[in-house]
Symmetry: C2
């Protein structure tokens, strides 16, 4: 019944750089407007994000992307209506952190479906948490609020089992940071209620430390 | 892979009263001293607690015991060295909330092993979270802190699948409260970092609302 993830050292994952990937929407307002427009057409948005874990100094760290110096993001994105969680997340992980595809690559979104082979190099494991957006607003909750029969978005966090080693190719406008779980725990003031809950969500997972 | 819990209305669980059950130790200091003494004899303490869920006003609520008006506790206790998580938690749930046993019952701890039949009426489900105590101190964390090879205690939270209806018999010095998940979420200031993480820990659980 229990979930096992093997952790390798952070140093097993050298970083490379690729063309920048801009946010699809230039502002939170624009993003919520797109959500509302998409909702009318397709119904509830499904978003998937990947939890990549490594170890350093004998402690688990989670890999987050940082855009500018402003905020931390888990790699992932929302899915197309027909995509499964697993295949969709694999494709997004490949898009975000896989090698730069050959040729012109100004618009990252267009590459998802061209790279099925690379996407399959990502191993998607258990769901560890979910958050629902009841309205076309910023707030999300780890439950469907009462009297909300039609949430507008559900975001699902999947564990990613990293291979023993891999080059992570990061868009130029972003960087990857490895945050220790002890930094996130009980630190909603700095990381918000979602990311600060990650250590508790991982507490039932059996970690194997490998070299 | 996903865990399903059926929620019944809070009103399906009438409360009854039984003899008081006092804390084994009169203070936090005494409790930590006993932990240290037990650790020398038996090694790491294993504690189990049960997460009982009901619904009210269309929203999941967790059942907690309140001692006086001071603090909230999940039902459970530490295990004897030979006890399994599941059998041990069943026995503790029965001790805490099962019917008053016949005869004299001043010391609740003595009753655990006499009531195997009643204990088996409790259905223990998945682990949703764990907390480790690295030292003989109050703090617990949802991970083993780095360089702590020998934690002193591990506390495991198990989901309890309640039956459709049951009388919950509560010691006189305690009461049962049903707290909605929205009250706990992002509320570490009031409930501490452990209980406030419960809504996130439950977010991956599929709830079925029954009547």
């Amino acid at each position: 019944m229990s979930t096992t993830i093997t952790l390798y050292p952070l140093s097993n994952y050298p970083f490379a750089s690729k063309d920048q990937q801009l946010e699809e929407d230039p502002s939170v307002v624009a993003r919520l407007q797109r959500l509302e427009h998409d909702y009318e057409q397709y119904g509830m948005r499904r978003t998937v994000e990947g939890i990549m874990l490594v170890h350093e100094h004998g402690h688990p760290h989670v890999l987050l992307t940082q855009v500018g110096s402003a905020f931390f993001k888990l790699p992932g994105d929302y899915l197309k209506p027909h995509e499964s969680d697993e295949q969709g997340l694999k494709a997004r992980m490949h898009l975000r952190l896989g090698p730069d595809p050959p040729g012109d690559a100004a618009d990252g979104e267009m590459k998802v479906e061209e790279d099925g082979a690379g996407a399959d190099e990502w191993e998607v494991s258990d769901v560890i948490g979910q958050f629902w957006r009841p309205n076309f607003e910023s707030f999300m909750y780890p439950y469907k609020p009462a009297h909300i029969t039609k949430p507008k978005e559900v975001k699902t966090w999947h564990l990613i089992q990293l291979p023993e080693t891999r080059i992570l190719t990061v868009p130029k406008n972003q960087k990857i940071v490895a945050l220790p779980l002890f930094e996130l725990y009980d630190n909603a003031i700095r990381y918000g209620p979602q990311l600060s809950s990650l250590p508790a969500l991982l507490s039932r997972v059996n970690f194997v430390y490998a070299s």
